[in-house]
Amino acid sequence: MSVLTAPVGASAPRTISGPARITRVVRLHYVNWLTSVVLPWGILMLILGVNLVIWYLIRAGTGETNLDQSTQYTGSIFYLLVYQAILAIVLMSTTFTYSLSLSSTRRDYYLGTALMFVVHSAMFTAGFLLLSYLEQWTHGWGVGGHMFQTIYFGTGPLWQRAFTFYFAMLGTMFLGSIFGAVYVRWRAAGLYVVGAVFLLAVLAAGTVIVRTRSWEAVGAWFQANGSLGVVAWSIPLAAVCAVVAYLGLRRAVPRA
């Protein structure tokens, strides 16, 4: 009775390729780039500004002209990592339902989200590298301060700076994705359980270390490996997080 001009079922003229289905999920995560790009960089620049003022005040107040030693332990850059972990959770909890309403499969959604983490980490690593060299060339923004060259990140040759920051951020996002997937699948109740499990695991590890009197060994391990080694060791952990998040998401049902 009706002439079907639109593709229907098996007679559909073309199938959207796997890569295209995945990249559109990446684009979806950036459709409101204020949250994912502008805000984190903006806040980071604000932190830099606050640090600059403090460094200037310290110099003016103490007459100390070389802040090299005292500012190397700043953890300002960790803000960026925490933000990305939370971003991973927020993105998943909000775009999962929306993506599925646009008829994405869970698999395509997850692969697209994981690819977004990869792209996002690369973008932020590029910015971080630029800032770490700027800081180096300007001798700590003119006041000997450190924010992008600390004992954790941003020192050593280019590849080392890129490697440590990139995989630290990627790992953080995949860690966040576990919480995102748990929230999407089991809602708040799931988060309580995972949070409790997480806490118990940390407590158990602490207990074992105390009982075996191996704090020194643990400290020595971190010292010996440095941030480069620690980040390298975290890569398999990030891979495990990625798999766990996928398993959680695979049977998740969007809820109103």
Partner: protein, 317 residues
């Protein structure tokens, strides 16, 4: 020319949530290239059925096929589906413009001009946070995506909550016009049965997770009517057991009985008995079938059924 494969086919489809059975042995076929009304009361299982058909949820038992394939996690089927629901959640920081930017990436038939025209029609503010939209504006976002996506299979689940009568009429008009130009399969779930009755080509009615009607709309309209006449004549007519009584009202010596199962024979019988047959609306028929009376009540049981009152749904089957 209709394709051999129906758009939707389910067999013994069952969905349980814990002890609650949301879909109970649902077997329906929805033809491709039609506008189908998926009707029923709140909590009847309409949304659950659409969730399973769009791969948002997984069946507990039985099978759901869309264009001949299982929809769950099946990209080649899902890419042809648009699912618009009243309760759709959008990312918190989204504005309508973000939805209208991203949705086209997912629907290959998307028509941007049509979408822009609909934005004007519904007077949708594009740059306001979705959270700040009125209920009607929120519904308009979904309606625009559902229409402009021109997906081969489009589900509208209560799409127009909060839309005023004008906006609803715009929706019906645009849907019909666009459907005529770009035929596709539309499944429309709504409570406003009378408003959409003229759009529907096929009707599926669900009650308490079970399919109680699945037929072309035209057939449905003809087969139910009110039989009006002197009580004795009406009772005699009903006693012949050719029709099913759905609802009965009496005033003085006159009885008016809503019956299902009218055909030429029955029609002639009623007219010969001096009874009046008046057509009933789709809404009346469905209200009576899903809320009123035992639906297996045969004519002789009409009196008893009427006495048992309206809310005997639990005792059904």
């Amino acid at each position: 020319m209709t394709t051999a494969t129906p758009a939707i086919e389910t067999r013994g489809l069952t969905k349980r949530f814990g002890a609650m059975t949301a879909l109970d042995d649902v077997t329906v076929t929805i033809p491709a290239g039609s506008i189908t009304g998926l009707l029923g009361r709140n909590g009847a299982g309409k949304t659950t059925l659409m969730h399973v058909l769009t791969g948002q949820d997984f069946p507990s038992e039985g099978e759901a096929r869309v264009f001949g394939q299982r929809p769950a996690e099946n990209a080649s089927v899902l890419q042809h589906i648009a699912f618009i629901k009243e309760s759709q959640k959008y990312p918190d920081d989204f504005k309508p413009k973000h939805v209208l930017t991203s949705a086209p990436w997912f629907f290959e038939n998307w028509d941007a001009d049509f979408a822009a025209q609909l934005v004007d029609d519904f007077r949708l503010p594009l740059n306001r946070r979705i959270k700040k939209l009125s209920r009607g504006q929120l519904s308009a976002v979904g309606v625009i995506v559902g229409l402009a996506s021109r997906a081969p299979l489009t589900f509208f689940d209560e799409p127009y909550l909060g839309l005023d009568a004008v906006a609803r009429q715009i929706f019906y008009d645009r849907l019909l016009t666009d459907y005529a130009k770009f035929p596709r399969t539309v499944v429309l779930s709504t409570h406003l049965i009378d408003e959409v009755a003229n759009l529907l080509e096929h009707v599926v009615v669900i009650d308490q997770g079970r399919v109680i009607l699945d037929s072309p709309a035209e057939e449905l309209r003809g087969r139910a009517a009110s039989v009006i006449g002197p009580r004795a004549e009406v009772d005699a007519f009903l006693a012949r057991g050719r029709v099913e009584t759905l609802h009965r009202e009496e005033l003085g010596g006159t009885a008016s009985v809503l019956v299902d199962g009218i055909d030429d024979v029955v029609r002639a019988d009623a007219l010969n008995s001096g009874l009046q047959l008046t057509p009933v609306t789709l809404q009346q028929l469905i209200v009576r079938r899903t809320g009123g009376v035992l639906n297996d009540a045969a004519a002789p049981a009409a009196e008893a059924a009427a006495l048992r009152g309206r809310r005997t749904a639990g005792a059904r089957r």
